[in-house]
Subunit: 418 residues, 2 copies
């Protein structure tokens, strides 16, 4: 009898927890979806405005100063942004809510004036702050705060990219590579789907690419994919090291953050004027699309690395994932054709493999390939992600990310990404 | 200068390890593919022979005795089968190679005479033994032995089911839920692909189902899917508890293993004769296909639970995954129609959700849905897996499986599956 009472209590606990999280995650996802949509639309408008008024880039240096002033004003100059969100999942440190408006406005400024940056840093920070805010509102305990912060992160990611399952698995996988809190699966999926639904309702078009050609899984295709993925792994290290070196260089040479923002902006302006193209400003989704269509300039990936490194080092905001897509796709298009693969398909491989190399999250990367490109090339994408994961070493975009197990051995190492 | 020497050495180490594992995993995958194919063909033939000669089921009791004799003869009566393989990944315990021929022959006997069992237990044990054998041959150290055992497991799984990515992720995920050795990603994927290639070469047809109808992602569909998945979670507990209770009952009432094998076989024979159908003997792939086509008898899932519980408790071999597919699909077909969902689609949801509930591996389950049913219903399958994972508690088919983090909280618990 007592056994049955115990069992019923236990079942009750499961159902209560389930309903509680569906409720909490729906709220988080709804807010994340609305803010994500607003953010998406703002950045879109900024990008369109810049496309029609390319003189506006001349104001980028001033934009850099404004961002520095904003962060100083709210005493967040030392904030490590996305890294702060990632650390908060593993500690009892709270995410300051002011991060949300700050990252929103400064990413908007960055895109309006033509800095080279993405949107996912903003997505993760906006989302993390929203989750943390909702959690505080409902007085969640420390452990549940971790889950709701993950919910928030995945919701805004889902709203921005239209990839709810990638968003869910990315948030779950990226914090500590090798350790997955599956208790966040239902919460993150619910908030991602909710945010995705909200974004669709407001007419946000999910990021999707059409692959006109997908090769069969022949030995030649496999070998060339492995080579391409290995090159992407190498490129991921080059990209990350370039970012960090540029950051250190600018920090040491330009100690004053206003000067740094101004000079960084100025460098981007000069490069843009010299190159006579706006291809490397903003996120560059159009260039990514062209690459996946099979066309990319051979120097594009190098230039995008330089533009992004300078932009981020100068203090502009937005994140590095869309630039990663850009660099991976243009590089893949180039390298793939040299290897005898279809250029458009190689661009897709490059995009996913470079993403995997810089975030060290192979499962999210494989699912990303499905949500962006469909399922037909699944095994080839899986090969590319595995190889890129293994060979990209312990470098990573997020230095607060833990890599818990060795990439080469079945052993516990628990180090921070370099 | 020294820095560069160090970097080159490190790069060399990565490339060497990569090439080494491609080599080791290819060999393991090749052997796993050949043996998996041979095993597949044998079981197919046994099944066909039984279908044409249904009197053969009368010999099932004798089959039970023969299996008991075989295991006694090789001193493996106490072997916990698949659990032994799972434990070996976490310890320095070796997998005895004799497990491989034993499980091969006894699964063949089980299928030939019409016991109700699957093939994946055999796949994991055959594969684990093969991996362990190859590892010993090349004198791998303890940590690499874990990886190569995983390689072996995923290779035979891939050859049998034709689902290489599921095989890879299943082996990686199932040992310790919440902890993933990503260092096994390249090795397992290589061996899975190799084994899959070998099986295709020998004409093995991959398991694929055609879904004639996939609902849109409406709120009603989502809610009904959640209900269906919650029911599958409950069913997974019922199935596992039935299996364990039957096992304990038969062990305590029939202490002699030969008698147990004989009586267990006899019970199956009597039930088969009384029911006047062979639907519940063997793996029952045809019934699974019918369910996914939208047709299933309402009592089918209960009968399959009973048949499988008695079969396995009597000492017959093969595993519980294909029976899980059977039970999930027939239950899903029934419950889904009652909930107003499409019966065929619900059968697919039931199959995947029950699988997820009994093995506690949500990522492998989501990928399984893609490899079996295609990508169109991805988000609905992901919802079903998440819900079933969360609500199925800490019950599991493999009692040596560790569940490292709570299903309800972000906390470390590290318990064995019940």
């Amino acid at each position: 009898m007592e056994l049955y009472v115990h069992k019923i209590k236990s079942a009750e606990n499961y159902i209560k927890t389930f309903i509680r999280w569906v409720f909490l995650a729906s709220i988080t996802g709804f807010i994340g979806g609305v803010i994500g949509t607003l953010f998406h639309v703002s950045v879109e408008h900024a990008t369109e405005f810049r496309a029609e008024n390319n003189w506006i880039i001349l104001f980028l240096p001033i934009g850099g100063v404004v961002i520095a002033v904003l962060y100083k004003l709210f005493k967040m100059s030392d904030s490590t942004g996305t890294n702060q969100i990632i650390s908060s999942i593993r500690s009892d440190q709270k995410v300051p809510f002011v991060l949300a408006p700050l990252i929103f406005i400064s990413t908007f400024i960055t895109h309006l004036f033509g800095g080279s940056a993405g949107r996912e840093g903003a997505a993760l920070q906006l989302g993390g702050s929203i989750g943390s805010f909702v959690g505080s509102f409902f007085h969640l305990d420390e452990k549940d705060m971790h889950l709701i912060t993950l919910c928030g992160m995945s919701s805004v990611f889902a709203a921005l990219f239209g990839t709810p399952l990638t968003a869910t698995l990315f948030a779950m996988e990226v914090i500590s590579i090798g350790v997955i809190y599956y208790s966040s699966l239902v919460p993150c999926l619910v908030s991602s789907l909710m945010a995705y639904g909200v974004s669709l309702y407001f007419g946000v078009v999910p990021v999707r690419f059409y692959l006109s050609y997908i090769p069969d899984l022949t030995l030649k295709t496999i070998i060339m994919t492995v080579v391409l993925a290995a090159l992407c792994a190498l490129l991921s290290i080059v990209f990350i090291v370039s970012m960090k070196k540029t950051e250190h260089l600018m920090e040491s040479k330009l100690k004053n953050i206003y000067v740094r923002g101004f000079v960084g902006g100025l460098i981007i302006v000069i490069m843009t004027v010299l190159l006579k193209t706006g291809d490397y400003n903003g996120a560059g989704m159009n260039i990514i699309e062209k690459a996946i269509g099979g066309n990319a300039r051979p120097e594009a990936f190098i230039l995008k690395i330089i533009f992004t490194a300078v932009t981020i080092a100068a203090g502009f905001k937005g994140g590095e994932i869309v630039p990663t897509f850009f660099i991976g796709a243009t590089f893949g298009c180039l390298a793939g054709s040299l290897l005898g693969l279809n250029p458009g398909f190689s661009a897709a491989i490059g995009l996913v493999a470079l993403f995997c190399g810089v975030v060290n999250a192979p499962i999210a990367s494989i699912v990303l390939s499905i949500e962006l490109f469909g399922v037909e090339g699944l095994l080839i994408f899986a090969i590319a992600c595995s190889v890129s994961y293994m060979l990209s070493g312990y470098y990573g975009l997020y230095s607060s990310q833990k890599i818990v197990y060795s990439k080469l051995k079945a052993e516990f190492i628990n180090i921070n990404a370099k």
